[in-house]
């Protein structure tokens, strides 16, 4: 997903250069491969998953994984408290996590960039007002703010995504604003301004494309952070609601079995970790490839 974006946005001449630097980072390539694998699993979940994520097998409650005594290869990672196949739930869960990441990043990037552009371009009172509001949002610990927001909006996946987008968005605002302010004083912008380019044109076509690199890196980080935050909310009982096979929610449901069935606790968390790690690896690679300063060192 992110890769496609990057390719489209980097100037054609820079594409091969980008790939050169990106592929030099072995971790980033591993991250990319893992991420693509998870993406494919998510897309083809109905074909890949051995069972339905919601079918309960009442004869096989809390079945251990296949390699343990009592496990069967029919349920490789075992079953949960109502006899659902954990592997299948994890595969379907990938859909939710990726979807959450995508929605949150889209929402916070669009709103954050717009607000940041406005603040950085117009400056003055508008800027002060916007930045003050961002300060207020940033004065709360993000998870706490998201938790209270979800409590207000009502627990659920959609509301969790909205809340996380809202607490994520100030980062994009600040980043865009800073970039715009730097770019605005540069010659090419002043030049277009003198040549009579309209405000909107200046904002979106002249300045924005030149601020993209840090935004893309931040977006990748926001993607993984969103997955973590959504899982944390799910874990606290305020995110996706059962029986949704969202990983954090699965963990929350599994907590009462912590003594008796380690597998219902272990695997959902592992899935979160692997996904987030893969994305962060990619993020590191992207930063190295896009950030000219670090590239040189």
């Amino acid at each position: 997903m992110t890769v496609v974006e990057t390719k489209a946005s980097a100037p054609p001449s820079g594409l091969s250069e980008f790939w050169f630097y990106f592929s030099r980072n072995k971790g980033a390539v591993i991250g990319l491969v893992v991420f693509l694998a998870i993406l494919l699993l998510a897309v083809f979940a109905p074909l890949v998953a051995p069972h339905s994520p919601s079918i309960q097998n009442r004869e096989l409650l809390l079945l251990p994984p296949a390699w343990q005594e009592g496990g069967t290869w029919g349920h490789v990672l075992g079953t949960d408290a109502v006899g659902r196949d954990i592997l299948s739930r994890l595969i379907y869960g990938a859909r939710f996590s990726l979807f959450i990441g995508l929605v949150v990043v889209t929402l916070s990037v669009i709103s954050g960039v717009l607000i940041g552009l406005v603040a950085g371009y117009f400056r003055g009172r508008v800027d002060t007002f916007i930045m003050r509001i961002m300060d207020i949002i940033l004065a709360f610990p993000s998870l706490l703010l998201a938790l209270v927001l979800v409590a207000v909006l009502g627990p659920g996946l959609l509301n969790a995504m909205i809340a996380i987008s809202l607490v994520n968005q100030p980062h994009f605002v600040r980043l865009t604003r800073a970039a715009v302010m730097t770019e605005k004083s540069k010659d090419y912008v002043v030049g277009s301004q003198v040549a009579g380019a309209g405000t909107l044109r200046l904002m979106f076509l002249t300045i924005l494309p030149n601020c993209l690199a840090p935004l893309i890196v931040q977006a990748t980080l926001a993607f993984s952070a969103a997955i973590l935050d959504a899982a944390a909310l799910g874990f606290l009982g305020m995110g996706a609601q059962p029986p949704t096979p969202e990983w954090g929610t699965m963990l929350a449901e599994a907590r009462e079995f912590i003594q008796r069935a380690w597998w219902v606790v272990t695997f959902p968390g592992l899935a979160i970790l692997v996904t987030v790690l893969a994305i962060n690896l990619m993020g590191d690679g992207l930063r190295d490839a896009l950030d000219p300063k670090l590239k040189r060192s």
Binding site: G27, R132, I133, D135, I136, L138, A139, F140, P141, S142, L143, L144, L147, V148, L149, A151, V152, G154, S224, L228, A231, A232, F235, L236, G237, M238, G248, L251, R255, I258, Q259, W262, V265, T266, P268, G269, I272, L273, V276, L277, I279, N280, L281, D284, L294, S297
Partner: protein, 334 residues
């Protein structure tokens, strides 16, 4: 410098008012009302309901409630819990030392391990050591800490039986709270074994809470070090034949520390967010758990007051970091 300080303070006040408006209006938007919860399954008569709403002042116009609340804030009255009827500020002050102790220990661990790890990775850049340190840091940075905590409990408390599961100290020990910090209080109490007990209770939560800051600090230290090591004066120092230890330890590290200190300051918010999860998992009696419980209990007043107090703490810490930064780096004083 004074102007700089006043400038920062002047920004703080409107922000704090904004925070109070947000905290206040959020809570009014919560679905369901706290009065309903008082009676549980037993349905309350509409008359009784109205009477209680009136008693709690919830039937007044919102702006009146807000102004009233604001007036209270000025006198240090953050309202009283609807469930326990205790003043919010009192509970906060009771519980905050627990969170502070945990957070300080976590940041201490993160700094003490993170900076050397980052320096080592930078100096040994490109070696397997660098790669494994950075790999571990990235894993830590990607860690869902609520799961990490559960795993540690399963292994160290459940399987090995080395560490206690929850709480701050064994119940065998009981002494007056002087500082609110269990480690210090246990020493003051002079009871044999109390300090050790407090320490064993602290280990797992500290590890869990330190994980992300540790990773962030290690990564930040490494990149700051790399940047500094590439600077001319370091090259010159090297060329002059100074010992590598001297170059790294004195010249490079000192200059690399400025961004790292900022990073550490920025971890306060991260720590408090982490404390919410860590305290929930380890039943640590601090403000994170208190807030989560209150959200679930729909305790209007506590969520509102707690949000404000926590925001205030973060703002003050950020201010202090800002000022320190201004002190170290005069260029940013406008």
């Amino acid at each position: 410098m004074l102007r700089f300080i006043f400038g920062r303070l002047a920004v703080l006040i409107p922000t704090f008012i904004g925070v109070s408006i947000i905290a206040f209006s959020f809570i009014r938007l919560l679905p369901g009302d706290p009065v309903m919860l008082m009676s549980g399954e037993r349905v309350m008569s509409p008359e009784r309901h109205a009477e209680l709403m009136h008693q709690l002042g919830l039937d007044r116009p919102i702006y009146v409630q807000y102004l009233d609340y604001l007036a209270g804030l000025v006198t240090g009255d953050f309202g009283s819990s609807i469930v326990t009827k205790r003043p919010v500020l009192e509970d906060f002050l009771n519980l905050f030392p627990a969170t502070l102790e945990l957070s300080l220990c976590a940041i201490l661990v993160a700094v003490c391990l993170g900076i050397p790890a980052g320096v080592l990775a930078a100096v040994k850049r490109g070696t397997w050591l660098d790669q494994s340190i950075m790999g571990a840091a990235l894993v830590g940075y990607s860690m869902p800490i609520f799961w990490w905590g559960l795993l540690l409990i399963i292994f160290f408390s459940g399987y090995l039986g080395w560490t206690p599961v929850s709480g701050r100290i064994s119940l065998l020990y009981f002494f007056p709270s002087v500082t609110g910090f269990m480690l210090i209080d246990s020493l003051i109490s002079g009871q044999a074994g109390a300090f050790k007990s407090a320490l064993t209770y602290l280990i797992l939560p500290t590890v869990v809470l330190a994980t992300i800051p540790l990773a962030v600090i290690a990564r930040q230290t490494r990149s700051a070090m790399l940047e500094v090591l590439g600077e001319d004066y370091v090259r010159t120092a090297r060329a002059k034949g100074l010992s590598p230890l001297r170059v790294v330890g004195i010249h490079a590290l000192r200059n690399a520390m400025i961004p790292v200190i900022t990073t550490i300051g920025l971890q306060v918010g991260v720590l408090l967010a982490g404390a919410i999860l860590t305290e929930t998992i380890f039943s640590w009696p601090g403000i994170g758990k208190w807030m989560v419980d209150s959200v679930f209990k729909r305790d209007y007043a506590v969520v509102q007051g707690g949000l404000m107090l926590i925001a205030a703490v973060i703002m003050i810490v950020n201010l202090v970091v800002d000022l320190l930064y201004g002190l170290v780096n005069p260029r940013i004083r406008r």
